[in-house]
Symmetry: C2
Subunit: 407 residues, 2 copies
């Protein structure tokens, strides 16, 4: 019998009503003849209160215990959903990370899935039980409960799907799928039917909250099909898989944007003083994430390096730069606020040189000033004034014919 893994989102658990509704969708898949595994997310039911309690006891509670406390969140969620499915007359069973056989390792600071011993899951599926797994958790080699961190729930879903050889993973969200651009800002935006792992990966990295890049990477590695779909509506979602029909493949697949970007520029008196390594190491040590980095190296001009950061870390970044001015050896720093990032993504770019040029050209025609540029094999990002962001996104959506997407 074919198996599918469904990953639910937090909204599903906002009320008993919503749980009722999702049980219908799950039962539907079961009645379609699938063996169904459901991976449940963390919900805001109890976490904050417990965290506060823990931090009252110690300003620096150790991670192992915080993880053990937080792991109870998805454990509880999995039992609640199981109860709701039972109520509708379907056999279901909840499994914690360790009960589902999920082993983790922590090579650096990140907890990763090492192995999934799937026998327990498979035996419940063979019994005809809908198997509900607490997402984002596992155990390490010493039987300590571990949390998979950011993107852990989606990663659990993909990992389990690979381990039990499922046909696909369905990621249920508030949206009906992935769009060519945010419909709120690009009026012609529409849902994408199919895309490649790399395209989804770039969109995820560009801030799409639908699925964490980590889970996409895992799916890509094992060629596991992902469907992004709605948890409430019955419409086809966006299919993410290895090979998208070649001929119909568009150069640009989608447009992403990010607001509230700030450009910081640091200038040096001479090249000898300009150490990019020490600059970005210092920022990283202070947990300041830098996105686009541009270094201007022009003869006869004093060297500068510009980088973009999120508004949230701006004050902290300024503080860190000031405190380390001598160490870092720069002579001045300035910044520009009110910027936004607009990106085009598409694996067709690899074989279509000139995409970036076409992008710049169109933006120039629209009289939109490009402040910074960053490119990857399947993505070009530009930083523009935030006031021009919507115009830029719409222009690029038009420029690359996303309106006419056929697949």
């Amino acid at each position: 019998m074919s198996k599918i893994v469904i990953k639910l989102d937090e909204h599903t658990f906002a009320s008993p009503d919503r749980i009722e509704r999702i049980t219908k969708k799950i039962i539907n898949e079961k009645n379609n003849g699938f063996e169904v595994v459901v991976v449940v997310p963390f919900i805001h039911l109890i976490d904050e209160k417990l965290r506060q309690y823990a931090f009252t006891l110690s300003e620096n509670p150790i991670q192992r215990e915080l993880d053990s406390i937080r792991s109870t969140n998805t454990q509880i969620t999995s039992s609640l959903l199981t109860i709701a499915l039972n109520k509708r007359g379907y056999n279901a069973v909840s499994l914690t990370g360790w009960q589902a056989g999920i082993s983790t390792i922590t090579p650096n600071r990140n907890v990763l899935i090492e192995h999934i011993e799937s026998e327990n899951i498979l035996s419940h599926l063979r019994n005809g039980e809908i198997t509900i797994i607490a997402g984002g958790q596992g155990i390490d080699e010493n039987n300590n409960i571990t949390l998979l961190g950011e993107g852990g729930v989606e990663t659990t879903a993909v990992g389990v799907a690979v381990a039990i050889d499922a046909e696909r993973v369905e990621i249920y969200t508030n949206e009906t799928g992935v769009f060519t651009a945010d419909p709120k800002i690009v009026k012609d935006a529409h849902q994408i039917k199919q895309m490649s792992y790399d395209e989804m990966l770039e969109l995820s990295l560009l801030g799409s909250k639908i699925i964490h890049p980590r889970a996409v990477e895992l799916a890509k590695k094992y060629n596991m099909t992902i469907v992004i779909g709605s948890s409430t509506e019955n419409v086809p979602g966006t299919v993410i898989k290895g090979e998208v029909e070649m001929e119909r493949n568009l150069i640009v697949r989608g447009i992403a944007y990010e607001t509230d970007i700030i450009r910081l520029t640091v200038g040096y008196d001479s090249y000898e003083q300009a150490s990019l390594a020490s600059l970005f190491t210092t920022l990283a040590d202070n947990n300041i994430n830098v996105d686009i980095i541009v270094q201007a190296v022009i003869d006869g001009v004093k060297p500068t390096v510009s980088f973009s950061i999120d508004k949230e870390v701006f004050a902290e970044a300024i503080k860190v730069l000031e405190m380390n001015k001598q160490l870092l050896g720069f002579s001045f720093a300035d910044f520009e606020v009110g910027l936004a990032k607009v990106s085009i993504v598409g694996s067709g770019m690899v074989s279509n040189p000139g995409v970036a040029a076409r992008m710049f050209d169109r933006l120039k025609n629209e009289q939109i000033q490009v402040k910074m540029v960053s490119t990857s094999e399947i993505k070009v990002s530009v930083v523009v004034p935030q006031d021009d962001m919507v115009r830029a996104a719409n222009a690029l959506h038009d420029e690359f014919n996303l309106v006419e997407e056929l697949v």
Copy 2:
């Protein structure tokens, strides 16, 4: 190194302040050179809300999932205490039931500890870690999370103590130990220094909330010393062990009482119709606990059977009797409210016949009417009017010289 197991009570977790205080006591034991295991209880932090949620989803949620949800309670408690101990600079680690190696079986409706694979606990103790175990939980042979039910937390403490060969189990309570009678009603009541398992067992069965009889039975089976003591004050507690110093052993060790007892009497027209078996089976099937049972068999008098029940189940008991009147074959039923039970307990009774007679005699002199009587090898209970309960308890306390207890 000697090991001890400490069982905390719920009051300990009423506030971060109290947790702070208990950590001092635990650290004290550690500094005294013990390897320390702590077993934590269920606390009223989150349970009710989650139960309500579960019952919103289904009026009859299955036990496995309710157990899994409720098991997170002591799991969270164990982590919170671990965090508090860490904060004070002591290595500590929390263990769930399965992490502590606790396997359960469910031969009938009760979940029992089958085995404790203590290697993980011992290895943490060897590392110098104070080991905090989530009380009242384990896993069955299929790795399902199970709850030990009533008295499960104390039973975990005693079970773990046996498994790791601890020197003793310390049961921390709101009291400083076990008293000869409730100090609130008997002014001369004082704390007992030592008592036998059987004596504690009878006191527990008589409604003392200090320790569940199930845990006492387990301690008796493995001859594990229990100390009942205060979680806040530093005074010696009551030691419960197999052999209490023989010569100083008093005939009566303590006095217990229970209020709000109701006597129900059922009468039959003839002995042929009087089936005690079907009467008490019917009551048990409806979860009505019967305490004292007295059958009067007198020539020439119609047979009756009287039994005592708690006020809480009175309405239900009447309903069950009415519904089954024909089946049970009785001709009338009546009841008496406003009663209380007073009991004397002491293993010295076994070798001292006439204790019950002395008890009845004293009560008669006090003009207290005895409504029902029940005896065991080391206990005599009488049901008296509730208005006379305090007088009865004080008189018996005096009669058996509990005031002058030497040990």
